[in-house]
Amino acid sequence: MEDIINIARELIKRDDIEAIIGYEKGRAPFQTVPFFARTPEDCDKLIMNSLCVNNLVSYINQFSGKVAIFVKPCDAKALVGLLQEHQIEREKLHIIGINCQGALNPKKLRNAIKGRMVKDWSINGDKIKVYYESGEEEFNIKDFLLDKCPACDTRTPPIYDELLGDEIKTADLPELLARVKELEKLPAAEKQQYWNEHFERCLRCYACVKICPLCYCERCFVENASPQWIDKSNNLKSNKAFHLIRAYHLAGRCIDCGECDRACPMDIPLRELNLKMRKSVEEHFNYVPGKDIDVPPPLSTFKKEDPQDFIR
């Protein structure tokens, strides 16, 4: 914690940096919220721990000048995508990379405390300590990780100007696409039923669109009235069309930050859809989004030697 405050205090002194984007502690238990430090005093409020789950890159364009930003590997992958798609100017960024060993799922933690009033919480190493009105309890962080974390092979941001700590290599990870492969094995009718049950519950609140770092269109296809591609009312047919088109729009672009999963109030496993697209793109084009800024995204490049065996 000392580290990030010191870095931030040094950076904010610079004339060219308008603000520092990071996190502060939120009011609800296990909550952190995005925080913009503009003065050295602001910097003291900055925190960085495994409950800092929000993807901060969406805030960059709210500033006209140069900003410094703390990025976890997930945020950095989104940055790579946004830089590739000309949404952010690299010169207007100072990137401070933060290594990540997995982020906590606040929902899981709230379930674990079984409705007791939380006075405060603190994170120390791989443990989180919860202080109740009376008494306290300690949990192992690794039991409460977000679904995306255990299989993640990016523990160090793929892009940064300075990095806190040393680069982390990964080994012996569980398989990222295990769930997708499981779903693929289902017979068509069961697959249909599985997704119908989920899509039926969709409220069309568009929280998934709002939170996605790569959904930055000024006008989403769902807003288009002429022609109206899909029905605006909430029904299975148009909900399904909405989610499938969104998955296609993210194909070869989704960096698997899992924010859609986290934001969905109806717990629709949207990440599974996006992972399926990731699998296809990787199989066909040997490309994983967000890894390397210099490799052009395959779905918006034209190459004569692109495989064509899928056209029959």
Binding site: E85, H86, Q87, A188, A189, Q192, N196, Y216, C217, E218, R219, C220, F221, N224, S226, P227, W229, H249, P296, P297, S300, T301, F302
Partner: protein, 677 residues
């Protein structure tokens, strides 16, 4: 609300036989927005077109659907007719009842149903059409000719004689191409150099032609009428303005004396110095230094050429230079290469000295060639007695070589047999062939003359093996006409190697953004009706870069390409179809996903600024002159900010919707289909 007229064409019996055109016209009359509907035997005929023009006026139409053949066939016919009626031509659309319906079905009832639906969809589309206006772009009246072979020379001279400036770019130190290497040409046996050299000189001296020899096209930007070309002029290390072409440097250069550098022009049969002119008649007659083999460049010592040059024209410090030229049209005449001779191990090329290629034979019989026009065996320098010619080496061989016919080998092999007869009296020519293809004017007679008057022995069959016996080469093959094996004891074997695309043809195509086939030959826009145009407006083809061809064909194509270019230059402004993409700048987020998918480089980034000059945002911008309306950008744009005029999302969506509303009545939904399974 729209007033749409529907005109159903019988196309004689082409459509009427399978589709009940009367029923289609009747059904169409009941469609929403349709105020007039009629059927007619030939809509494309003059009375048919007049019917449309009259109806537009009488019924105050604002949309027209012609239900007839493919728009590729007659869209322009009806749109031009609409202009005569003072009607916006882009309010005319075609429903394809012929290629998409009557020609592919035989059940009259079902075909009629389908025809009605095709018309219904197009009516729905037309109701959402908007009037469009042609786009006008200025023309730069200058042409670029890439390649200085006979095709390029012809094109350049024709254009220049038409009063238009020409820039000619040639890769080699001299223009002339393959034709300058030939001795005599079929079917008249006139001397190749004698007919070519005056043309080469004309190029060099023509006031309208700028020649960049020893240069290559580096990049091409822009569009028809407005190309910007960067040309790399390779360093000759000789100052052109000073060089008098005396040739003293080439005589004194110490390199090449021992045969360590071979002359490409002589197909490696004679050495050349490091500073050289490829052949005596070269145009321009200015030597170049081959920096790879020059002792000065290798060791920093020598400089003999500089010492002997009276004109002080040698400049070792010369660097490659990029020049920029603006042109309105480009003619590609980059020529061909020959199939690598060593790919046929059974013929022993490279193993046996006396196995040579047709082009080597050509240099041998040339009076200015390495043997001064004498046919001699490379192994011992003696004249041969028996010479075997093998045709189709690489050509028409799908397994090992290439599938196509190289077109010229039948003729030049017959010519070689004649030349052998003339220059090496007493020598006998044996020709192994698959077929004899002699389809040009005077060609058949020429081959007949080789057989009957000049004593060439034609053996139908392939050669399976060549091996050495003492001083001779034994050619083993089969005579498929008698069904017997044949053995010829030869002193010299000449391989008629296939014509293949020029090395690097694909790279140049990518620079020019023209398409090429699997053999890397450039694609013409239409194999019959547009043989010298490419699909990229303003770029034309001539000669062997498009497909193998002989000198007469290359020259005709050169002239044809020139006439196309001159036609383009005859206009003040170019008229372009307005069916191009446009960006909705209000919603464009400037992700530029559209940019890399554009095959025509028509998309650039545009900055939108307020009145004070502050940047508001960056968006994609489409260059009207470059966009060909393929729509690749429109489908890539996630937020639907790019529309293709004439095929807007609204039009297509309505077209599909009209169809979908119909099928949903009797087709199961996808859910039902899955449930059934």
């Amino acid at each position: 609300m729209a007033n749409i007229g529907v005109f159903v064409c019988w196309c004689g019996s082409n459509i009427a036989q399978t589709v009940d055109v009367v029923a289609v016209a009747k059904a169409a009359s009941e469609f929403k927005d349709v105020v007039y509907s009629v059927d007619y035997k030939y809509m494309c005929s003059s009375p048919g077109q007049n019917m449309m023009i009259d109806a537009i006026k009488q019924h105050n139409l604002d949309g027209v659907v012609i239900a007839s053949c493919s728009p590729r066939m007659h869209e322009s016919t009806f749109r031009s007719a609409a202009v005569l009626a003072g009607f916006n031509p882009y309010m005319v659309e075609m429903a394809n009842l012929r290629e998409h319906c009557s020609w592919v079905h035989d059940n009259r009832e079902e075909a009629t149903k389908k025809a009605i639906e095709l018309v219904r969809m197009i009516v729905a589309k037309v109701a959402r059409n908007a009037p469009l206006n042609k786009i006008y772009v200025p023309v730069t009246k200058r042409a670029l000719v890439i390649g200085g072979g006979i095709a390029g020379i012809q094109a350049a001279l024709d254009i220049a004689n038409g009063g238009v400036e020409v820039i000619m770019v040639e890769k080699e130190p001299s223009i002339g191409g393959h034709m300058s290497q030939l001795d005599e040409t079929f079917p008249t046996l006139d001397c190749s150099q004698c007919i070519l050299t005056p043309r080469m000189v004309e190029v060099a001296t023509h006031k309208n032609i700028t020649l960049y020899a020893y240069s290559e096209v580096d990049s091409v930007e822009g569009f028809v009428g407005n190309f910007k070309v960067k040309i790399k002029r390779k360093a000759k290390c000789v100052i052109e303005e000073l060089c008098t072409g005396c040739g003293l440097c080439t005589q004194k250069c110490p390199v090449g004396k021992k045969g360590e550098v071979m002359n490409e022009f002589e197909v490696g049969m004679a050495p050349r110095p490091a500073i050289y002119i490829p052949f005596p008649q070269a145009v321009p007659n200015i030597p170049v230094i081959d920096r790879e083999n020059c002792t000065y460049f290798k060791t920093g010592k020598c400089g003999v050429c500089a010492k002997v040059c009276v004109a002080k024209a040698i400049d070792f410090n010369q660097k490659d230079e990029i020049v920029e030229e603006e042109v309105g049209a480009i003619i590609v005449a980059t020529g061909y290469d020959l199939y690598p001779k060593d790919s046929y191990g059974e013929y022993g090329y490279g193993k046996f000295k006396d196995v040579i290629s047709g082009l080597e034979f050509e240099r041998m019989v040339s009076a200015s060639g390495p043997t001064k026009g004498k046919v001699l065996r490379p192994s011992n320098g003696k004249p041969p007695k028996n010479v075997v010619f093998i045709k189709c080496v690489g050509s028409r061989d799908e397994k090992h070589g290439i599938s196509y016919c190289s077109k010229i080998c039948c003729m030049y092999t017959a010519k070689h047999a004649m030349l052998l007869h003339h220059k090496c009296p007493g020598a006998k020519a044996y020709i192994f062939y698959m077929d004899i293809r002699a389809t040009g004017k005077g060609y058949e007679e020429f081959v007949k003359r080789a057989m009957e008057e000049e004593g060439a022995v034609y053996i139908r069959g392939r050669v399976s093996r060549i091996y050495k016996r003492k001083d001779h080469l034994v050619v083993v093959g089969a005579d498929t006409l008698t069904g017997k094996p044949v053995e010829v004891e030869a002193d010299l074997v000449v391989l008629a190697t296939a014509i293949i695309a020029k090395d690097g043809a694909d790279k140049l195509a990518q620079i020019l953004k023209i398409s090429y086939d699997t053999h890397n030959f450039y694609n013409e826009a239409h194999p019959k009706l547009r043989p010298v145009e490419t699909n990229t407006a303003g770029i034309f083809l001539a000669g062997c870069c498009q497909a193998p061809k002989d000198i007469p064909d290359s020259v005709s194509q050169g002239s044809a390409a020139a006439s196309k270019a001159l036609a383009l230059f005859s206009k003040k402004e170019l008229e372009r179809e307005p069916l191009i993409s446009r960006v909705n700048e209000e919603f464009c987020v400037g992700c530029l996903a559209c940019q890399p998918v554009c095959p025509y480089n028509a998309i650039e980034e545009k900055e939108i600024r307020d009145r004070k000059g502050n940047l508001i945002k960056k968006v994609a911008h489409i260059n009207e002159g470059l966009c060909m309306g393929c729509g690749a950008c429109a489908v890539t744009c996630r937020s639907g900010c790019i529309i293709l005029e004439g095929f807007t999302n609204n039009q297509i969506f309505e077209q599909i919707n009209t169809f979908e509303n119909l099928i949903s009545k009797f087709e199961p939904t996808p859910e039902e289909t899955v449930a059934k399974k």
